[in-house]
Amino acid sequence: MEGGPSARIREGDCAVLKRDEVFKAVSVLRRRKIIFEKQWFYLDNAIGHIYGTTFEVTSGGNLQPKQEVEETSTETKEAGTDNRNIVDDGKSQKLTHDDIKALKDKGIKGQEIVQQLIENSTTFRDKTEFAQDKYIKKKKKKYEAVITVVKPSTRILSTMYYAREPGKINHLRYDTLAQMLTLGNIHAGNKMIVMETCAGLVLGAVMERMGGYGSIIQMYPGGGPVRAATSCFGFPKPFFDNLHEFPLSKVQSLLSGTFSTETLPAEPEENTLVEEESNGLSEEKQSSLQEAEEEPAPEAPMDINPTEEQDTMDISAEDVEFKENKEKENKENVREKQMKQWERRKKLQEAAALLREKNADGLIVASKFHPTPLLLSLLEFVAPSRPFVVYCQYKEPLLECYTKLRERGGVINLKLSETWLRNYQVLPDRSHPKLTMSGGGGYLLSGITVVLEKDKSDSSNPEALKMEEPSSKRCKLQDLPC
């Protein structure tokens, strides 16, 4: 679907900047100053290059494709064997702070600064080969600023969000998201129900895996769905043709058959903004958060403003027709509003109709809300023999959800799980797990729906339990001193 001809960076694209392990989502616009990792630059020169190209930032904030440089490491290498004679006197670097600043101000290439630092380090030669390696790597990271422009993907965006603004995605780690997509059997042609408050990241991940085939109904709390992260994916327009949304507050009425579109929830745009703000305030890393999230957003307000300005200018020029125009405008506004509302009603009706069929191919829940009521209601819309996955940052609500689902019936193969992720440093003679690993990436409760028998509620329930749990385990449970 995607890829292929669009492998080149184009104006208006959603792209991701990468420096070492740090990512930032941006939209590619001309003459737009971008600040990333304490550097500012323009993306103008990146346009036309293939995704994956690495650039160097030159003076004036221009980007220049990085030339592959042969490392001059073949010169006679001198290295110590241990550090018994290396003393930390704070004087091993002969260049002062000011010297280094002067070098930078002269616009000298990062690579040369690193070389100078090495030459002026009195202890460098006494360091072991490994320590020298580490020293160079550290300095390169600081002085050789290279930026790679990559195409957005679930891999990149979920890694970025988890590192930069975990609070926005309820601390859903990328490997946990990967589990959800697999356990949920997300693929082209599905009819999926997604309920998330993860800035639209989970929705985007599901959309990527469905490749524009099938349909998605996004259940949203409040006045409208949040899709800040979804927009970072840069999906082609057709992907949104079969993306529907339905307000959570209407679920009960839809299930009881009293649903109508007469009372619509408040305008989506306004509420989305409020939601964003309130989320931002509670966030620890608010500044970095806004950097990544708000950049794609300005497109909408900017589109509106210029036309409005033009209108007012026209009016002031032709004073005579001012009043007439104003009235016309008002009438048009009202009509436009009505059109908009009619449009929204129609969309809502479509989503309601899709849900009413009660034949969805899966349910994905990843929100800040308690999962139990969501599951008990939303599972009604799912066909039998389909997977569902619920994410929660905490284990305890899922314990309750598990119990309640067992009582409800209509589900089998319930599994509460968590994944651990360990990264490794792999270098000759220096391989080991990385020093730090993530403490937690949340928990998943998954299962499969089956035909729910209406009359089974009391009589055959014990049998159902027996079926799910082997007798040995039940005995153990009863043996407990309770």
């Binding site: 891999r155 990967a178 119990t403 490794y424 792999v426 799910e468 449970l477 001193p481």
Partner: protein, 308 residues
């Protein structure tokens, strides 16, 4: 039914999963006139299965019942006949995401093995993508072909019977991603690189031993791959249990038992199966880790082929 498309009713020729309870299940090939034995009795395909809805409860001859499930790559992974050691869904999920697979992706894989990963890859790249899988063991390659045919996905996969280290994947410059699960992946890195598209792509190698990983990482670096990253993913499953802990008797005076120090036994949990709740115990729900869990499957090394 197909592994890449849901169907509502069970049809002749389908592969269905018979679910007996608590992870006890097996696959069955649905055929007119055929019967399947379970511990709950006989299932007659013509009357008990064909035409029924997936997810239905089917009563067997002895009165017990089972559920019949629609096949998915995940259920297949749990039930497939092993011809080799296989990859499980936990590793598969991170492989799929880190290789950036989606509908339309072209993937190369070796070895095919028992086809556990293959089914998941096909599911993800369908309907417009393709899997080129290479297996040097002739019998295994043949068996995999047969399964893909039975599962209605043969149009999405090409099985080649050759040695990937010597002869490569049989395709060049078309893949978005390459996956290697072979004893000496470093010998196949060159072939992997040429199978990937000119503008780049992703690669993953699965190895149980760190020495294999080291050689692979070196080979990747020599071949100009970037973003080389090795990780390990472990699954922890929790049993949901209601646990009661007894409050120790510290010889508190009898008249003092009106104020037990903290809220014990009083909160009677709703829906608790423990009717004989004794005074002096505290009850709570817990997610208890299994006694023994998988501690290591393999290291996953990922890398990117950048354009040159």
């Amino acid at each position: 039914m197909s592994f890449v498309e849901y169907g509502d009713t069970i049809k002749d020729g389908d592969t269905a999963i018979v679910f007996l309870g608590h992870e006890s299940m097996f696959p069955v090939k649905v055929q007119h006139g055929s019967v399947t034995q379970t511990k709950y009795g006989v299932i007659r395909h013509s009357t008990d299965l064909i035409g029924k809805k997936y997810g239905s409860k089917v009563t067997c001859s002895k009165g017990g019942w089972v559920f019949i499930l629609h096949p998915t790559p995940e259920l297949w992974t749990m039930n497939l006949p092993h011809r080799t050691q296989i990859l499980y869904s936990t590793d598969i999920s991170i492989i799929t995401m880190m290789l950036e697979l989606k509908p339309g992706s072209i993937v190369c894989e070796s070895g095919t093995g028992s086809g556990s990963l293959s089914h998941a890859l096909i599911r993800t790249v369908a309907p417009t993508g393709h899997l080129y899988t290479v297996e040097f063991h002739q019998q295994r390659a043949e068996k995999a072909r047969e399964e893909f045919r039975e599962h209605g996905v043969e149009h999405l996969v090409t099985v080649t019977n050759q040695d990937v280290c010597k002869n490569g994947f049989g395709v060049s410059s078309i893949a978005d991603a390459v996956f290697l699960d072979i004893p000496s992946p470093w010998e196949a890195i060159g072939h992997a690189k040429s199978a990937l598209k000119a503008e780049g792509g992703r690669i993953c190698s699965f190895s149980p031993c760190i020495e294999q990983v080291q050689r692979t990482c070196l080979a990747l670096e020599e071949s100009g791959f970037t973003e080389i990253n090795t990780l390990e993913i472990l699954l922890r499953v929790y049993n949901v249990r209601t646990v009661s802990l007894q409050i120790p008797d510290l010889g508190r005076a009898a008249e003092d038992n009106s104020s037990p120090g903290f809220d014990s036994s009083s909160p009677s949990p709703q829906g608790s199966s423990c009717a004989n709740l004794q005074p002096g115990t505290v009850q709570f729900k817990s997610g208890v880790p299994l006694r023994e869990v998988v501690g290591h499957t393999g290291y996953l090394t990922f890398a990117t082929k950048s354009l040159l």
